[in-house]
Amino acid sequence: MMGGTSGLGDLDELYEAIILDHYRSPRNSAPVDDPDVDLEVNNPFCGDEFHIQLKVSDGSVSQVGINGRGCAISQASASLLAELVEGKSYAEVKAAVDSVRRLLKGEEVTEEEQDLLGDIEALGGVRKFPVRIKCALLSWVGLDDALTDHLKK
């Protein structure tokens, strides 16, 4: 059953089909051997926890593995992130994180950014459910911090 059939009302706006798909079948969730970036992110408010691992070479992300536990929004968001960053340069990843932040805050996102984000735009439904924005941002903020740290090394 894919919503829309009951009193659950606006739930479909938050949980678009693409979100439920990523939640049920997370992408790039296998652990990475010998990762260059390896971090745990968590949101103590909800107890959501994700383990993010990256292999990086020549200024870009060559392999990514993200797994953890959390609500549908945080899991789908982490899966979308895992799908997006593979093969992207640091600059592209940074730009994507920035676009996602603005998308979730309801700020303007350019057409060029929309092209980069693709399916990730489905996360925008969270804007109507402000308490869930943190769920969607968790893995992105973690990745941003981890990359920033890695670049300093």
Binding site: G7, L8, L11, C46, G47, G70, C71, A72
Partner: protein
């Protein structure tokens, strides 16, 4: 303040519901089903009117002026203290101290009595099912004093493991602080047994009654507890006001918690003399209006009868446990036996994270709590990071529990592949 004459005198849940204006609200187009009562309860018209009436007719500062309004405000404020004292059978009204909430009451005891009586090598005993507000003040104090913080463990059955309490509470124990009813598991703890053991070794007994005083008859003299803490907002009263009850001699020997107006008898440029109880602990202009409204909340509950309140919640809890246990994929934590618990049911669903469930139920107008319930160590001991919680009060009905159960099914169906 007047106010009890128009109240109902028997317990009829539909009559009760009619007294709560907020129950007419629509949430996402649906009737509100409010099941987050362990977080805070809704307020009856009677309490809201008491607040308004105070500001419209009586507002003045207390214990200061000789003018009519100040006298009336003082009388109303002190009458509310007497009502609250009567509600828990406190031996005298000055053993009832107004605070901001349960947390402040607990902190007050930690910062005054415990600060003066706990020394290096002593221990403080709490339980594994405490709210953060009954853990962190003791952790901090134990660190500062180089004292030991001991826990009475909780079993997977949701009950305290009492078999070892004579070892855990020993001659070096200075204070035992335990929750009467767990805000996560609903467990009604054997505080009488803990109190007896605490007193055997000369320790004082503090009871966090935030989840019990609103729901069941509580008699501080029969319990023989030394301190008892609760909040008004969890028992129909306003936010921002709570109570510390303490035995007179203990309170009388304690140092003040805060300094300022009203808590002193005499001030010179060099020193000050503390006022008598209860004012020694009520520095500054108190929360007059909310104290008076708390008195109105007590009137309302007394008119229902706390035995009736408890019976109603026991019926709802038994019904909810029965209905919820028929749901596939649902796991309820806490005691299975409804007579061992209050109206708090925490649960997890195999295929839905509590926050997704909470959002789904909110679409149906059903308000529950999700998360760690300010009891992270306990929730984690069940190997989960978050749980959903439904908690009941006087205005809840079996029909609402049916709506909860249907709502969980419906939301589970939505997320099922």
């Amino acid at each position: 303040m007047n106010g009890s004459e128009n109240l109902i005198h028997t317990f009829d849940v539909e009559d009760v519901r009619a007294d709560f204006p907020i129950l007419n609200r629509k949430i996402n187009g649906m009737n509100l089903v409010y099941l987050d009562n362990a977080a805070t309860t809704q307020k009856p018209r009677h309490v809201i009117d008491a607040l308004t009436r105070y500001y419209e007719e009586t507002n003045a500062n207390v214990h200061r002026g000789v003018h009519t309004l100040s006298v009336e405000a003082t009388d109303a404020y002190e009458l509310a203290r007497e009502k609250v004292g009567g509600f828990i059978n406190a031996p005298r009204p000055e053993t009832v101290i107004w605070t901001r909430n349960t947390s402040e009451s607990l902190n007050l005891v930690a910062a005054t009595w415990a600060e003066e009586h706990v020394a290096k090598g002593d221990n403080i005993v709490i339980t594994a099912m405490e709210h953060h507000s009954n853990i962190v003040p003791w952790q901090q104090l134990a660190m500062k004093k180089q004292a030991e913080l001991r826990y009475i463990p909780a079993g997977k059955d949701g009950l305290l493991e009492m078999s070892n309490i004579s070892k855990i509470i020993d001659s070096s124990t200075k204070i035992v602080s335990a929750t009467h009813v767990s805000n996560v598991l609903g467990t009604v703890n054997p505080v009488d047994e803990l109190t007896r053991r605490a007193h055997e070794v000369g320790a004082v007994m503090l009871v966090d009654a935030a989840q019990s005083v609103p729901h069941m008859p509580v008699d501080v003299q029969a319990m023989d507890v030394d301190f008892l803490c609760f909040s008004a907002h969890k028992m129909l009263g306003p936010t921002g006001i709570g109570v510390l009850y303490g035995k007179y001699d203990l309170l009388n020997d304690m140092s003040p918690f805060m300094f300022g107006g009203d808590m002193i008898l005499e001030v010179t440029y060099e020193d000050a003399k503390w006022n008598d109880l209860p004012y020694k602990f009520e520095a500054g202009t108190p929360n007059i209006a909310d104290a008076i409204a708390t008195g109105a909340a007590v009137d309302y509950l007394n008119n229902l009868g706390m035995e009736n309140v408890w019976r109603h919640e026991q019926e709802l809890t038994a019904y909810a446990l029965e209905q919820m246990s028929s749901l596939a994929g649902l796991k309820i934590i806490g005691p299975k036996d409804p007579t061992l618990r209050g109206g708090v049911i925490s649960f997890m669903h195999d295929s839905i994270h509590p926050h997704d469930l909470g959002t789904g139920l909110d679409q149906l107008g059903i308000a529950i709590r999700t998360g760690h319930h300010c009891a992270m160590p306990l929730v984690r001991s069940y190997d989960v990071v978050a749980a959903a919680r439904a908690s009941f009060y006087i205005y809840n009905t079996k029909r609402e529990i049916d709506e909860l159960v249907n709502g969980i099914s419906e939301t589970a169906g939505y997320f099922a592949s």
